[in-house]
């Protein structure tokens, strides 16, 4: 008899095999019965658009809404609807129910027409204009910014450049110190010839970015994830959740070349931001100019933006009111896990509520467009 180090138990193996067969058969029915996967369902209205960028305002879901709205700045990589992937686990819906007044930027899908867009175009252009629109709509000088991942980095840069327009800053899974070796992307990006990549592609394809993310955990993300699906193929709800996430993961916009070039070279490769050496539009980004209240949130198991990339922000700013909260979640789990709904969303809402006394615009400025807070919320 051939020696095998496996101690296969005949009965267990038989049960396992039969169970798998049952699930596969049932799975056929499940897959055939799945309707269109719907995401991004929380009601919202388009309030501003510029080129491919769109600014949405979510309809408030609470009677007791905080007076200062929060603008969510998502990353250029992937789509912002990850925060509203499914209704029973939507962090945005949760925030609305907890009384936040939420705006969100949708960066759109850059194509070759956008290859020359720079980081300045995103920060001094689109982001600044979106902030101005929200300020104008609510008649406030300052609004709350909530940046996610790369969008968090944008928000940090923006808050340093335009401190007069930001009341509170919340950063979620946001990289600011790119010198860490805890995350593979931070190691790998040091050796990428970004100039050649941008010069050749113009707009870096989303599929290229996805390939990079997938090989971070090849067996888990290319194999075990799908084995896990088979395990749950008899459960339509789990399958639908899986398909929503799958849709989001591979719905990756391309990256406008020039902005990507600067982001990777100046931040990932040169780590200029945390050293206060980054220049945007000819101005130095000095993090010490951030004096507003700061809430810095990161995931302890985040393999994309490890804690070491986020933590240093609190020491880099001048804010006296600053807080750092870590949760036992990963990068995506920060927004879609049950912990996200039970712990993360309430923590953010509570923190903002405590710091959101409105500062009305100075009289005489844009009076025709000024609206009181109540009016702003009902729009």
């Amino acid at each position: 008899m051939m020696f095998t180090p496996l101690a296969l138990n005949a009965q267990k193996v038989m049960e396992e095999t039969l169970d798998m067969n049952k699930k596969l058969l049932q799975g056929m029915n499940t897959l055939l019965s799945i309707k269109d996967i719907e995401v991004d369902l929380t009601p919202k209205e388009l309030v501003y658009e510029e080129d491919k960028m769109k600014l949405y305002h979510y309809k408030p879901l609470s009677k007791d809404v905080i007076p200062v709205p929060v603008l969510i700045v998502y990353a250029l990589v992937n789509r912002q609807y990850m925060m509203d992937l499914q209704q029973n686990r939507s962090v945005i819906r949760n925030w609305l129910e907890l009384g936040l007044d939420v705006y969100i930027i949708d960066w759109g899908y850059p194509d070759q027409m956008d290859k020359y867009l720079t980081l300045e175009d995103y920060i001094d252009g689109y982001l600044n204009n979106a902030v101005d629109v929200v300020r104008r709509r609510c008649g406030l000088d300052k609004i709350n910014l909530l940046g996610v991942c790369q969008g968090g980095t944008f928000s940090v840069i923006y808050s340093a450049l335009y401190p007069e327009k930001v009341k509170n800053l919340v950063t979620v899974v946001t990289p600011v110190d790119f010198s860490t070796r805890d995350g593979l992307l931070f190691i790998w990006s040091k050796y990428m010839n970004i100039d050649n990549l941008v010069d050749t592609f113009g707009v870096i394809p989303g599929s290229f970015m996805n390939s990079g993310f997938i090989i971070l955990k090849p067996f888990q993300l290319m194999l075990d994830k799908y084995m896990g699906l088979i395990e749950n193929l008899d459960d339509p709800e789990v399958v639908e959740d899986f398909l929503r996430m799958e849709k989001w993961i591979f719905d990756s916009p391309g990256q406008a070349g020039e902005a990507y070039r600067k982001f990777i070279k100046d931040l990932f490769q040169e780590n200029l931001l945390i050293q206060n050496k980054l220049e945007v539009g000819g101005r130095k980004v000095n993090l010490k100019k951030i004096e507003i209240p700061l809430l810095n949130i990161f995931g302890e198991y985040d393999h994309l933006v490890p804690p070491a990339a986020s933590r240093p922000l609190n020491d880099a700013v001048s804010s006296k009111d600053k807080q750092m909260i870590s949760f036992r979640v990963g990068h995506i789990g920060m927004f879609v896990s049950s912990k996200s709904q039970k712990e993360v969303a309430p923590a953010v809402a509570r923190w903002l509520k405590e710091r959101s006394e409105p500062e009305k615009k100075e009289t005489g400025k844009k009076t025709s467009k000024n609206k009181d807070v109540k009016q702003c919320l009902t729009e």
């Binding site: 496996l6 956008d114 990428m192 010839n193 050749t200 599929s207």
Partner: protein
């Protein structure tokens, strides 16, 4: 870019490899040993007919590049690179090709012997001519002497061209045999040396400045081929490294399961074993991925692929420039103009808004003072 290896593209690549083989067959014909003769360099008679030899050489190169040219238009199919990139066994195809070549390489000692033979041949021929010098008229002497000199020069050229292959052949052979015996690092070394030899011989040839009407096209074609060779080498090296780690992970898995069996904790179901298998592999690859050497290699693979795409794109743009369709170059120019115009327009709108706001404030101020 990654779409050139399946469907129609796959056939094209196969043709391309065959063409590669043709080049090296021709080379082999020139350089191989046969029946006790030193070299078959188109036959010993050709040594005294350098112009014929040169013509053969030119013909060989012309045929080779004609084949390359045939290859180029067929490649215009999309969808291929990606799928082939995903096939791990893809890297063994070029290796098989290269290794078959390595088997046919002459050993260095034989080449040294041959070099000595040629030198003595030329020297003796000179002596022979000198001994007859009084009996030949000057034009005949010049012709005879020049022929030998030309043969010598050409021999020198050939040596310079193929010298890298001869120099590296012992290492290529050694690594090839080490790999056959199970040393996976040898495969990576083999590929690196192969590319080094390529760069110092064919690579240099492809970088010769082109002349004439189709100078630009030829240069783009040469760059495209050259960058493809670099890409294939780096890509193969990359996957060889991944394969090596996979192999080590397998060994580790066997060891681990044996240990677990010894402790009475061996996996009892397929699922348990599957979990152990993928997690062992994942952690092995994670350790590799964390290293700077891997990051560097990944950077090189991406860069080599991008460089090939860039060169190949330029070649396609060159081909399509005569057709009534806008090329990427044309569109880039348009995109830039649109970007600049859009920016200028936004700037103007912003300034207009600022001015109208100032005007509004001024009017208000005047209204207030009047009242």
């Amino acid at each position: 870019m990654m779409e050139m290896f399946t469907g129609k593209g796959k056939d094209t690549w196969q043709n391309w490899w065959q063409n590669q083989n043709k080049i090296f067959d021709l080379w082999k014909e020139s350089m191989s040993f046969q029946n006790g003769k030193i070299f078959e360099l188109p036959g010993i008679m050709d040594w005294f007919s350098p112009e014929r030899f040169y013509q053969n050489w030119l013909k060989m190169m012309a045929e080779s590049f004609k084949e390359y040219l045939k290859w180029i238009p067929d490649i215009v199919s999309k969808e291929s690179f990606e799928q082939t990139m995903q096939k791990a066994d893809g890297c063994w195809k070029p290796f098989t090709f290269w290794s078959s070549m390595a088997e046919k390489l002459p050993v260095k000692e034989d080449v040294e012997k041959w070099k000595g033979f040629c030198q003595s041949l030329v020297q003796n021929y000179d002596k022979m001519l000198d001994s007859y010098s009084l009996n030949f008229p000057e034009p005949v002497k010049l012709m005879l002497k020049s022929s030998v000199e030309m043969a010598g020069s050409f021999q020198q050229f050939l040596f310079n061209f193929f010298q890298p292959w001869l120099d590296y052949s012992p290492e290529l052979r050694e690594n090839f045999f080490r790999f056959i015996k199970g040393d996976h690092k040898a495969c990576i070394d083999f590929l690196r040396i192969w590319y080094q030899a390529y760069q110092e011989s064919y690579g240099k040839f492809l970088q010769i400045p082109a002349l004439g009407l189709s100078r630009e096209s030829f240069e783009k074609l040469a760059s495209s081929i050259d960058s493809y060779m670099r890409y294939m080498t780096v890509y193969s090296e990359f996957f060889s490294t991944l394969y090596k780690i996979g192999y080590e992970a397998l060994e580790n898995l066997i060891k681990k399961t044996a240990e677990m069996a010894g402790e009475g904790k061996a996996p009892t179901t397929f699922k348990d074993f599957y979990q152990l298998w993928w997690q062992t592999n994942e952690s092995a690859y994670l350790e590799l991925f964390k290293t700077d050497s891997f990051a560097k290699m990944l950077g090189e693979v991406v860069d080599a692929g991008v460089e090939f795409k860039k060169n190949f794109d330029e070649l396609l743009v060159e081909f399509f420039s005569m057709l009534p369709v806008p090329t990427k170059k044309d569109m880039d120019s348009l995109y830039k103009s649109v970007y600049q115009l859009r920016k200028a327009l936004k700037d103007q709108v912003r300034k207009t808004e600022e001015l109208s706001e100032m005007l509004e404030q001024l009017n208000r101020k005047e209204g207030t003072s009047e009242s």
